[in-house]
Symmetry: C2
Subunit: 594 residues, 2 copies
Amino acid sequence: MPTTSRVAAIRHWLYMEGYDAIIIPSSDPHNSEYTPDRWKIREWATGFTGSAGTAVITRYDGALWTDSRYFIQAEQQLQNSPFELMREGVEGVPSMLEWLNQKLNAKDKVAFIGEMVSIKVFEEWLENSNLEFISVEDPFDYLWTDRPQDACNPMRIHLIDRAGEGVASKLQRIRDKFEKKDTTYLMLSDLSEIAWALNLRGSDVPYNPLFLSYLIIFDEGAMLFVNKRKLTAEVSEYLAENGIKVRDYQYFRTFIAAHYDRGQYYVITSSTNYDVIQYIERLGVDYDIFDSPVEEMRMYKNPTEQEGFRKAMRSDGVVLVKTLRWLSENVGSGNITEVNVAEKIKALREQMPDFRGESFETIAGYAANGAIVHYEATPADCATLKPEGLLLLDTGAHYQSGTTDVSRTIPLGPLGTEECKAYTLVLKGHIALARCRFPEGTVGLELDLAARYAMWQEGYDFGHGTGHGVGARLCVHEGPHQIRKNVRPCTLVPFKANMTVTNEPGIYVENQFGVRIENVLLCKEHRTTPYGKFLEFETLTLCPIATEPIIKEMMTTDEIQWLNNYNAWVQTTLDALLDDAADRAWLTQATKPI
Amino acid sequence: MPTTSRVAAIRHWLYMEGYDAIIIPSSDPHNSEYTPDRWKIREWATGFTGSAGTAVITRYDGALWTDSRYFIQAEQQLQNSPFELMREGVEGVPSMLEWLNQKLNAKDKVAFIGEMVSIKVFEEWLENSNLEFISVEDPFDYLWTDRPQDACNPMRIHLIDRAGEGVASKLQRIRDKFEKKDTTYLMLSDLSEIAWALNLRGSDVPYNPLFLSYLIIFDEGAMLFVNKRKLTAEVSEYLAENGIKVRDYQYFRTFIAAHYDRGQYYVITSSTNYDVIQYIERLGVDYDIFDSPVEEMRMYKNPTEQEGFRKAMRSDGVVLVKTLRWLSENVGSGNITEVNVAEKIKALREQMPDFRGESFETIAGYAANGAIVHYEATPADCATLKPEGLLLLDTGAHYQSGTTDVSRTIPLGPLGTEECKAYTLVLKGHIALARCRFPEGTVGLELDLAARYAMWQEGYDFGHGTGHGVGARLCVHEGPHQIRKNVRPCTLVPFKANMTVTNEPGIYVENQFGVRIENVLLCKEHRTTPYGKFLEFETLTLCPIATEPIIKEMMTTDEIQWLNNYNAWVQTTLDALLDDAADRAWLTQATKPI
């Protein structure tokens, strides 16, 4: 069914139900970043496959908002569709609410699926428009005839010798964050927070080791609402041992209904979906909404988790060296496509005993495709590599003990002057951030300048963030902090020791090439001086940074020294782990000092 | 009368009136930065003479909050006083409200002088405590027996060939910022906004060219409330020509009372004091409170104002060169004190025909005194300079066409290693900010890193801001924007072309020395690339930067080039303006490239 027919069906539904518009976000009942197939309604309705975007369909208009990562992709995928592309953050582009306010009249009825929208977002809508927003029963159960069912994959225990802290301790720390009334029920609905709190991992959501669930924490014990078919005998036993009762996911509302009149007081986190809160509200349950304390607790990695990151980086480093060597030896054949590169990495990862799945879809963008920030190559439509120009590779994986996220820009042969200049500027930004020492409490908005200063001098910039948190064997994009140039709550989070963050500046020259160099950093204490406590970053990622594209005269002595030290450390660490002498020889060559 | 007796008198008043505490901010009825002598109540009550600080006196306790600029000074001045020093921003130090909440019980009565507190601040108090805040009639009219009267100095016209925009145009632009009702009265109470809007200057407040007044802007014309004795014949005529009526300052409330029942709608700016708003509220006048649009209008300097800055910098540059030469020739005598330096600058400025007064009290801090950020030397208590170590000099002036603010750290002879290192780190930060190019809209919080990166690497930092706006022949500290490391509204203001900002990183080694290097910058368009519109800074200040303390190996080629270019520009520009061949010879020597 082409997009036009789908939109026609949705408009028919709007008409029959008496609504003037429907908002379709990219979300699920748990406010997840990557949505299970069942919840990819926005993708089904618009044809746009990017991970972030919100569609709105009125009776006569359609529009899709997405961010700069997806501008080029969305433009292509929305061609000849009923959707106008709205480039978020570009001057003159209306926000979704501004657009709705223009297109509709005050009090017009805007439908949304309450399960897909957090109370925070709903309140923003109310504040910024005079429209009526109506939570509706999900119409896509019948509009989307072949809508996928919920996934039902077995869960795994994230063992204490990898988690570093047991579930009893974590639950108690969560309880201690709240002033409690007589019978207090703390409700978590964010899947990553539940996985973190229970030291459990799942695979319901692609790339993120999560399982669809709600968790209610009592004064003693807790209750997990999850599809019981996901519980292996081992997991069931583990939950029982830890005093965690289990109910089926679908009985979550029933449980609340059965317990609302016994003086319970519900503490609800602000990412909880609107539908659940409405349900509780209608029951007349005593509740308050708070920002979840788990986000901050999860942000600080304990020593076991830190060591887990380092271990995962070693495994991924082995994979990356093998991939890069294979690439250097085979690019001349003229038979390697972008998709082959992604397949090769995956195949090599699958040989690692501790591999547990990729942490996001590998991006391999050759030449002009590298300029499409979140490019997805498909077997049907992907470039064949030539021994020239730049290949941008952004890839990551989950290992037993940790999660990785790395980008390298690989010279496949002769390069143009601008490619070398852009590469050097990105590298200078990467190094400035990696080396930066700063007082405890410095925020991501301030740190961002380190990554951009050099390229700004030359008139370059990039639209995406400079860094995001990385979960400990959890989601590869983890809040609440980011390093980026935009004033947002995430860029105003103070940095403290034991936080992870990526360091990934880039330059994208449209229709020509893209450069990005990304490592994962761990924030650590450096030293205390009369001027305060200073922090520094430890670079965790182990993968050679190519030196061929560097214009050495543009680098300072300090920068060159950092690069040589980094590559030497990569060489020393991975050499001991590589079986194949040819891999070791390649690595030695690739990490020679400049 | 010693502080203790003053506090006893205030406590007696608290007791008689039945209040539990009084808050005494450093302010006046117009929320001014520098307060007229009459309003220096906090200074009178505490003995602390710094420009920023808030005192609280309860029946049994006293405390004074001030920021890091004044920690050392406040510590000295509060010794043996009934006031505990509260270092703002230091971990573990309670905020004023936290402290009040601890010391008092809910519903206790806290007095304040409503004229000294803006509605914004009052609302913050209400939100963050359960105390009762009561606006009282100013008791210091009798507690402070020798309280000064209002100043009464003549006003001056800031001519159109210096202002660049006439009063009619400014008033119309202000009117256009508001949706108006039938009869709308726009009320301004910020003295700098009134001076800007009317192209008038006064001298009621030390260092700031302001006159105590309120301004009400009507649909046509405006009414200025000012002590009529300040009006020269020339100013009276100018106001009449521009359709601006004048009433005496004291009749401001009477005017409102006489006009509240004729359907007027008052638009009040949020810096207006609590007392005025309460008055309007009690009358039942129709009003709304908005952030003043004048702050943003004033922020962008027009081409005439920009040229005025450049002209003022040339005048001040001549003064500074003469001062520095005099210093270099006389420091060896052993007879020069810190106060002499300030006097010499002032005397030299008074020889310039366009000089109109200093823009703040000159700071001349020798050696350890340089580490006291807002040090005030007095003839009775000041250091004598020796031909060694560093002198920190921070000074500024108003000239006919513009305002200056400059800091230099001057080597008086042999220096220690740490002095040279700190000097070089400060200079590196200064240069990084001065050279920085950045996309339009970048905020001060992000730019701040440029000034601190180098010193943070070595464990140094400074507690004050990196930069503040400078008024066009107006206040030397002008909002709304700042460059600093703290997350505050002022650091989240987007930079655009035509804004001024200082560039003043520093390092202060307690009991040893202080370094600060400060120029005024003008933000300008650099160029537009495919990545957006980029801005850059033009350095306006003309004064040699000493090269003797520089550790050259710590500098990059780009940094050395910037410094040599800057000093060469200073030499070329000022050489033409210096009459004395000895001054010119000194300047040539001082600006030699390194």
